[in-house]
């Protein structure tokens, strides 16, 4: 009877051992899913469309801008973009400088701070 009891204990011990291994693996698995979801969420929530739209707008503004009036035109664009973005709780602006050969783009929200200087010489922003 003693030997049977010992075998029972060994069985329980092995079961515990295997269970612990499996639990560890399942925890790892669960962590991976969580990390994956967080990463995809961060990527999906990044305001890339807002920034692309601002860049498109910069290109259009430079094309439509009368060269002689670039200062006033820039000021009009800057004021309107800033006010329109402010009602959405984010800061966005477009600053046309150096007679329209450079455009500075700023986008600042709670999560993202983005700034870019585009070279717009010749009417095409890069």
């Amino acid at each position: 009877m003693a030997s049977v009891k010992e075998r029972g204990q060994v069985l329980i011990l092995f079961t515990l051992l295997i269970s612990t291994i499996i639990i560890s693996i399942s925890v790892l698995h669960a962590q991976n899913i969580l990390a994956g979801m967080e990463t995809s969420r961060t990527m999906m929530m990044f305001p890339k469309e807002e920034i692309r739209n601002l860049k498109d707008l910069a290109g259009i503004a430079v094309k439509k801008m009368p060269p002689a009036k670039w200062g006033e035109y820039s000021s009009d664009i800057y004021d309107q973009v800033r006010v329109l973005y402010s009602q959405k709780g984010v800061y966005g602006d477009l600053i046309i400088s150096e007679s329209g050969s450079k455009v500075i783009l700023n986008f600042i929200s709670g999560d993202v701070e983005y700034s870019e200087t585009m070279n717009c010489a010749g009417g095409e922003c890069k």
Binding site: I22, A30, R41, D56, Y73, V83
Partner: protein, 180 residues
């Protein structure tokens, strides 16, 4: 002895599998957090709305006019109507032209939508609802900014008399989309 050992091992594996099943179910149920999934669905709807606005955003012109079903053409063709809360009861509210409404409906498919327009006048934001439908609680908004010069707005309700033709005006077209 050998047979018993194998039986014990099998029992061990079987019990471990049961434990694994229980744990897996537990982890799965705790992982599927509903706000996260609803957020993922919201993001998909938002991407749909953003793509729709991007498709309709074209500065190309035919014979000097914007396509009537583009965002630009829609704004330019808001004529002989009134915007905002200043409308008299006998006046027509501004609504998008038929071509635009048709194209927007085709691109959006099963989704229902509301369309709003925002612009700046004397430093303050003005707005108008062009398509007035009541969104459901899971509605998502997307915006597109459009730049038009005063000369391009001639004949539209946005034309500013006495202002130079080159003066720019930026519009925010806001599309609110939801599944009915």
């Amino acid at each position: 002895m050998n047979t018993k050992g194998q039986t014990f091992t099998l029992e061990g594996v079987a019990s471990a599998l049961i434990l694994l099943l229980a744990l897996y179910t537990l982890y799965q149920s705790s992982l599927v957090i509903s706000p996260m999934w609803s957020e993922a669905v919201n993001v998909q709807t938002k991407i749909k709305a953003q793509d729709t606005l991007k498709i309709l955003d074209t500065y190309e012109k035919v014979d000097g006019n914007f396509y009537t079903d583009s965002l630009q053409g829609m704004i330019v063709n808001l004529r002989n109507c009134c915007l905002g809360v200043n409308c008299e009861p006998n006046e027509d509210y501004c609504t998008p032209n038929e071509d635009f409404s048709y194209s927007l409906g085709v691109v959006l498919g099963d989704y229902d939508y509301r369309l709003e327009l925002y612009w700046v006048e004397s430093g303050t934001v003005k707005s108008a609802v062009l398509v007035d439908r009541t969104p459901s609680p899971n509605a998502v908004a997307a915006s597109r900014y459009i730049l038009l010069n005063n000369s391009e707005l001639r004949d539209s309700v946005f034309y500013r008399n006495g202002v130079e033709d080159w003066r720019p005006m930026i519009f925010e077209v806001r599309l609110i989309v939801w599944r009915p």
